[in-house]
Symmetry: C2
Subunit: 191 residues, 2 copies
């Protein structure tokens, strides 16, 4: 075969998929290694050959997701020169819409919302930089505060959107977010 570790990859993928599946039913704390392996049809010893415990497994899954997220996001960001925070928001919402299945698990009742929050928070850095470019005279504290607020708001919208089944289009939410972060409460006086 091409890949010398093809077999391991298959096994790992099976364990990952099984864990994600179990996470739609119950919290991580009540998922045992034994149960996980029985569901995956794997020997328990095989699990321990790759992971220390279920938390370790989830951590590795999340690390990979994070890598994929930024790998997918970066090209989206780099092809635009004047990248205002609202535009970043739109890109991120599109990214979520693409990976809807995964998002639903993470944001679900037994998912790791904290992980999602951290992803968004780490995206903050580039926004702070672009903000500085557009408002060179603004104090550092103001910029940081504004971006923090605005990212928190966007995350809240995302969470609601995912929780309610993504019935609206990503673009619609992104538009609303953009208008609020641009003009605040004036958003309620429109139309």
């Amino acid at each position: 075969m091409k890949n010398p570790e093809h077999r391991i990859r298959t096994t790992k993928k099976l364990l990952r998929d099984t864990l994600m599946s179990l996470l739609t039913e119950k919290p991580l704390r009540s998922i045992t290694v034994k149960e996980l392996c029985e569901n995956a049809g794997l020997n328990r010893g095989t699990f321990y050959a790759h992971y220390a415990d279920v938390y370790d497994l989830l951590e590795q899954i999340e690390a990979d997701m994070k890598a994929e997220y930024f790998a997918a996001l970066k090209p989206m960001l780099s092809d635009v020169a004047d990248l205002t925070p609202p535009k970043v928001t739109k890109k991120v919402f599109d990214c979520l819409e693409t990976n809807a299945d995964l998002c639903r698990v993470i944001i679900g009742p037994y998912g790791d919302r904290e992980f999602a929050r951290n992803l968004i928070r780490e995206s903050k850095i580039c926004s702070i930089e672009s903000c500085r470019k557009f408002f060179p005279d603004a104090e550092e504290w103001r910029i940081n505060t504004y971006v923090t607020f605005v990212y928190g708001g966007c995350y809240a919208l995302m969470e609601r959107w995912l929780r309610e089944g993504m019935v609206e289009r990503a673009a619609a939410i992104a538009d609303a977010a953009e208008k609020i972060m641009e003009s605040g409460v004036a958003f309620l006086r429109q139309e």
Copy 2:
């Protein structure tokens, strides 16, 4: 003694304090009933007389916190007639500043941030109502979206504030939050 259950209350309080203390060192998942009782100087059987497991204990602690939070917040809210969302924010920040010790544990590395988020989210309801009062012509969707965004933003500021050791005054953060939710990005053009 006055209270017929004085002894139980003392025991429960001891268990609670011990758990909160342990939560500053390690995550809940690696805190065992055995360890908790050893630290509290109590018999393990005593624990099981009151709680099912450590998760049950934390749930009860959080339920009480929630009750206290709203008990403290309601009088703050009721003594003002024209309660705009920004004013609610100010009140909540004051409330957090008062209970700084507790907040630090919850928002800390092993705390339950999700619990904090839920508290804030539940405060949203009264804000939606007051928003409707001030903007009777706005569509329901717009109001809900705006309040969701704005609460997410406030929560993000709170989290940052707590994480950075509450060095700034609550009023300062509340002012910033107020201005952003009022006029959006214009916040960066001030001063």
